[in-house]
Amino acid sequence: MITYTDACRVINDSRDEAVVVTTMTQTKYWYQISEHPDLDIGIANAMSKASSVALGVALGKPERSVICLDADGSLLMNFGSLATIAGMAPENLYHFVFNNGIYSVTGGQAVPAPGVEYAKAAEACGYASVYRFDDVESLDSSLSEILSSPGPVLIEIMVKGQPQAEGIDQTWESNAKMPLQLRTLRKRLTGADDWGPGGPYL
């Protein structure tokens, strides 16, 4: 089993200038480690949709790598996105799935069918390549090469499940943060500061 902190550290080491789209528990740990917050999006107000947002960014900026830090519970809610991503086949998309078999945020209840193997599911859908890691040393030694290979790639990371009673960045404050993050990222990616305020938070 790999810890969230170790996984995020290893990913950050190989990230370069990639956009990183996170959600749920991964967001909490990623924010503690990320060195490029201007290239991060924490999807906090649209449960399960990180993979779809990441696909959109990847299609819109094919010259830049896009990393998605997804999880088993979230992906189960948006499972069709595996087929959508495989169908569009973005070569710059790297889809990580943190698999702990539980819903951490809500107290540790088991996800339906905790034995689902997401790498195999992605392979069956048509991802360019898939990997599954349960020790950080193997992940660390392989990741740089994986992130240099053509996507879409799914990297399943087996992490130890631990219910999070508090501390998850999943509040109305994080909901309010996301619109500003998205505007910051658009400005960074396009050079244009042209997305004005809108919605309940801005």
Partner: protein, 179 residues
Amino acid sequence: MINGVLHPKNVIAQLVQHGVSHYVTLPDSETAHMYQALMDEPSITLVPVAREGEAIPVAAGLFVAGQNPVISIQNAGLYEAGDALRGLALGIGLPLVMFIGYRGHNRKGDTPDSAATILEPFLHMWRVDYFVVESDEDLDRVPLAFELAAKTNQPVAVAIGTEYAKSDKAIGAEQGGAQ
């Protein structure tokens, strides 16, 4: 029954005029001919999704990356996409034109199709402005939708109240195949 015809080529001309880059869609029976016609439009990339709830998040990502997407889903799919509409369109202030297939629409209000009867109340409840397009004669409403979305930084719906007509190419192919 809706009188009048809605040709895909005329809607596509509006999309091109407004610089649309991507058409994120899950096709339905009413929009099948539009989908076919878009496959011949080189300036617009089709992005087929597996479920309507993916459409708005994909469009949000495209917009963040500097693209100019629209989505096209059926009214029944819009209901499935409710949480994405809330969180990633209304919630972030996304200027997005959403073409919504108005399945069951007959302008009389006595349709047995609940997908039609609840569409306009749904849009009102979610505070989404909208325009209804039933034929080519209504297409001057499409620029209004783009202008309103850009002005308000909010999603705006274009409810397509009739089945798209077959394209000339499709008609030609059918006639050629019958010979």
